[in-house]
């Protein structure tokens, strides 16, 4: 039985961040890729995105305190 985990209720939405948005994010937090949390290239949640290392992934999480919370992770090689 095949199963798409990205459709699962508990898996938050993962999406690629555009270059412009990425620069904006880096400027807002005064960071480089090094300071971002990482996500494995072949993480099941982003396998379908086929993101290259260095791509920033935006995660929209449901938060009990804030409604929706955004989280960013940079794709890394294993």
């Amino acid at each position: 039985m095949s199963f798409t985990i990205t459709k699962h209720l508990l898996v938050p939405k993962h999406s690629k961040v555009s270059d412009a948005e990425k620069q904006k994010l880096f400027a807002a937090y005064a960071i480089t890729e090094k300071e971002l949390p990482k996500i494995l290239k072949d993480d099941p949640a982003i396998a379908a995105l086929e993101a290259e290392p260095g791509t920033v992934i935006k995660i929209e999480r449901n938060s009990p305190t804030a409604g929706v919370a955004f989280y960013y992770r940079v794709v890394a090689n294993g």
Binding site: A28, Y29, E35, L36, P37, T65, A66, A69, Y71
Partner: protein, 855 residues
Amino acid sequence: MITMDRPVHKKISRMDFGLFSPKQIAALATAKVVTPELYDQEGYPVDGGLMDLRLGVIDPGLRCKTCGQKLKECPGHFGYIELARPVIHINFVRPVFDLLKSTCKYCSRILMPEEKAKRYLVLLNKVSEEEGFEARRRKVKALVTKFKVKDKCPHCQEKQEKIRLEKPYSFYESDIRLSPIEVRARLEKVSDEDVQLFGFASGFRPEWMIMTVLPIPPVTIRPSITLESGERSEDDLTHKLGDIVRINQRLFENINAGAPEVIIEDLWDLLQYHVTTFFNNEVSQLPPARHRGGQILKTLSSRIKSKDGRIRYNLAGKRTDFSARTVISPDPLISLNEVGVPLAIAMNLTVPERVTEWNKAHLRAFVERGPLLYPGANYVIKPDGRRKTITAETKDEILTELETGYIVERHLIDGDTALFNRQPSLHRMSMMCHRVKVLPARTFRLNPAVCNPYNADFDGDEMNFHVPQTEEARAEAEVLMLVETQLISPRYGLSVVGCIHDGITGNYLLTKELILQRPEAIDLLYTCGVRDFSRLPNKEKLDGREVFSVLLPADFNFSGTDRSGSEVRIKNGVLTSGLMDKANLGQESGLMLRNIYETYGPAYAAELLGKISKLGIAVLSRRGFSIGVSDMDLPAETKAEIQRIIAEAEKETLALIDRFHEGKLESLPGRTLVETLELRIMEVLNKTRNKSGDVAMKQVRDSAATVMARCGSRGNVLNIAQMTAIVGQQALRGKRIEHGFRGRTLSYFKRGDLSATARGFIKNNFKSGLRPHEYFFGAMTGRDALMDTALRTPKSGYLYRRLSNAMQDLKVDYDGSVRDASGKIVQFAYGEDHLDVSKTKGGELDVKKIVEQME
């Protein structure tokens, strides 16, 4: 030598860890140790012994033969011994094994084709350049585990044999043991390039992991102690080294004498054992080396490791001066911010005060009283930094020379700043700043309201006390840690301190039912510190609420609910409706205290809390508040009613059991028949307790117990029901008491009895008394609860330790993100919503109120 007056500034840019070669060990050494003897007949260290004077000095008066310095100046120097036969270093068994497994038996090349090895080497260097040393190490580890044992060498095509490690340190190649000499010979032949793939930095050789010489640590790290009897007791390390030297000498002699190979092998093995336990005496497959008494020797790695090791005991755990510890006891009369300090402690701990033009006379008086008269002083520190003890003899001299610039270390006095702490320090409120209040007797006194943040009680708890020694430390402690600044918990945004026990009960009764004569009211208010009675209505008979309202600020407005659900309204500082109970006065609940804190500030809130508590206590002590067995009496009809309910329940359970035996019981979805029966019975019995409890509560007179349960100061309805009506079903792990191996809970019952009584239902109450089997069931659940807490505390303690160590340097940055020490982001918005919980009310931000205030 580096001295304190000329500090040397050096920035360490990097540190390399590696192996010493035998040559380096010998070159670093100042002495070669050749004899296991320590001292000669005169008690003088033997040359070439383990206590050789060239290895450093541990006796006062002697000078080091290497550097010529005295005790405490000489840092100690290494020596070495030449081992008769090489032995493997226990901590390098793993890498040696890896090397043996993946190198050729004959040509000593790595068991990997040339190109592949080259490729890996390039990759390794790339990784270390790009991602740093840590990443290189991980890569090496991954590589080494990937090296597959091949049957054939890709270089010389020779067949390879399987190598086996017999723990802790023997290697076998097709059941023939490889001696350390053979192992070392193989490692010597591995090329420098191949060795790099195993993670060796250039310049280090794998054969150095098999030792031919052993460095002897300086005597300064293994000092001997002179006992009272004048006898010398050597350090564990010295003992172990003695063993090594002794066996080594014997091995030498046997080899030279041409002894049979068996004897030499045995001695060699013994030498290996001693060298191994010298490094690590906790190797799992080896019996630890012991003292004659059977005590396990503490050798090198046990000096460093675990809780009592150098790191956690000496480096992470520092001991402190100017501190005290004793039993705590309550004192509701001192302020929330105060701590009662026993006189004996106040005369021992000191505060340094610098003498100036303006306080000279004041400090002189302290010195004049000396160390034995309170408040006096114990020491003065001269401007040159020398410390003088004040005694009857030195006092006059000190008094004449006492001048501006001297520092007087005077006794603690009322109002001094101190830190107070109770372990386990689980949150920041576990260590708070208090003002000293010197009191007689021998315990620390604290206001019972601060028990909650410390999680303290008075069943023998002890607490620690620290006196800050500088102005900066005192200021910091007062501003950041004073009790009143810690009222609002950063965990849930409500007050962690509040009225407790009688403080709540008294105010509850006052606001609920008391009508006071004017003099009575004045007396009450005076007791709790009110001096201005202008806000007390000018009437002869006063309502309790009117008395209570005098404490409130005149412009305070508040609306909320009390525990019974009716509205509490305070308008312009007057309580117009509602009762003062736990919901409003208690700790960790209610917004009244929270609002007062917000509008009038921490100091006011702390003072008000003290006044309200005192008012409650005063009310109770004047009204009287007591409990008796007769409070639990029930009228005959009620008793009969309860009996009826119980009888009915028993009948119902018996009916269920009968239906079960007849097979007529229908099982609930997803449950077996037995489970269904148990669930149904539990349901019936629990219903019984609730029902009879309710019946009883209706009838119980307005006793102290019900008052306390109602206002929330102590106890609850269930406790009262258990005393007056029925104790109820005892449960172990959510089930009725199980029948055990013999089919019954106690021999008092028939086997297989499923009835309520036989499975832990207590139908008596605490007043009527329990039947023996009921008492036993009660004891069973009591024991279970006790065991549970005893087992859970250390578990959660360790969990907390791991969490706090993992998160200790996370902080909220100025941009609202949570980052670790290296600036890496952990959360993009603190708590995902940027909220500081301590600025909220129970985790909710009251936007309406903020808007109201803006307008």
